[in-house]
């Protein structure tokens, strides 16, 4: 572990302590839980950007997706949290890990002299946007009379299948998924020429079969 990563992880621990202290101070236990999930999602992204090894980055992304699922839970959307864990952590991350196997180990690819100035630039831009948005927020956010927290799985299902709901979009999404997955298999399959060349690659001499 070199000095840069030591400093990075020390800063990450400080960030976690500060965030959970802020959460405890502002909203008590609920704030601390929010701070934990917010730290998981933001810290996962930070590690993903910082780490040199792409496998570590991919696993850090798992923390991000889990943290976002926790935020969904805190917002009362438990069905969505479950979908997030199933689809993102179980599906998309597994796909990304397959993609990682394509990537030759190139530890010099991440260069701090590129990451830090660009990060400062983008971070400053978004901090400005966040400031501008937060200064206009009180005018439209309805913060009182919050609805009760429920999973609403039944209402979501009815919304999907009701003709006045999202039936057309639901069917289109089904077609899209079918077409996209079949197309992905078609695009990613090994061509016939590769398969003919295969026995000499894996079978060694002779190329039996």
């Amino acid at each position: 572990m070199d000095h840069a990563s030591k400093a990075f992880y020390a800063l990450l621990v400080l960030f976690f302590l500060g965030l959970s202290g802020w959460g405890l101070a502002t909203a008590g236990p609920q704030g601390a839980i929010f701070a934990l999930f917010a730290f998981l999602s933001i810290g996962g992204c930070l590690i993903c950007i910082f780490e040199q090894s792409i496998v570590r980055s991919a696993f850090a992304l798992m923390a991000t997706f889990g943290g976002v699922a926790g935020l969904f839970l805190l917002l009362g959307a438990s069905f969505l949290a479950m979908a997030q864990v199933l689809i993102y952590v179980g599906g998309i991350l597994a796909l990304i890990l397959f993609g990682v196997m394509l990537s030759p180990p190139d530890l010099a690819e991440r260069q701090l002299k590129r990451v830090i100035p660009m990060g400062a630039l983008v971070g400053a831009a978004f901090a400005w946007i966040a400031f501008r948005v937060s200064s206009t927020m009180g005018s439209w956010a309805v913060l009182e009379n919050l609805p009760e927290m429920q999973s609403h799985a039944r209402e979501i299902g009815i919304g999907f299948l009701h003709p006045q709901g999202y039936l057309v979009a639901f069917e289109l999404a089904a077609y899209l998924l079918t077409v996209a997955l079949v197309a992905a298999v078609y695009v990613a399959r090994r061509k016939k020429a590769d398969l003919e060349a295969l026995p000499t690659m894996v079978g060694g001499a002779g190329g039996a079969n």
Partner: protein, 100 residues
């Protein structure tokens, strides 16, 4: 926790996704950055849904975003597989067939 806390997390996630896309030289990292950005959008959808009335539109949109992200990841990784096959590299700067 009010709406502004969730929006702050969402802004941070979006900015980190953009940083991930513009600073790393590897297509897989670009895909990871896109997933971060989609997650930021999802947090926004669900948070606005919770803090503005009792409809379910935001959650439905978030579910559709997740569906589209799954399709996108599958197709994008298939394309990456082919790009690696063609160029023997998955750096975006190496894919310069049209330049010649």
């Amino acid at each position: 926790m009010g709406l502004d806390a969730y929006l702050a997390v969402s802004v941070a996630l979006f900015a980190l996704g953009v940083i991930c896309i513009v600073t790393r030289r590897n297509i897989i990292y670009v895909l990871m950055g896109i997933e971060m950005i989609l997650n930021a959008a999802n947090i926004n959808f669900v948070a606005f849904n919770r803090f503005n009335g009792d409809g379910l539109e935001g959650r439905m949109f978030a579910i559709f975003v997740i569906i589209l992200a799954a399709a996108e990841a599958a197709v994008a990784l298939a394309i990456v597989l082919n790009v690696f096959h063609l160029f023997k590299s998955i750096k975006p700067s190496d894919i310069d067939l049209l330049r010649e």
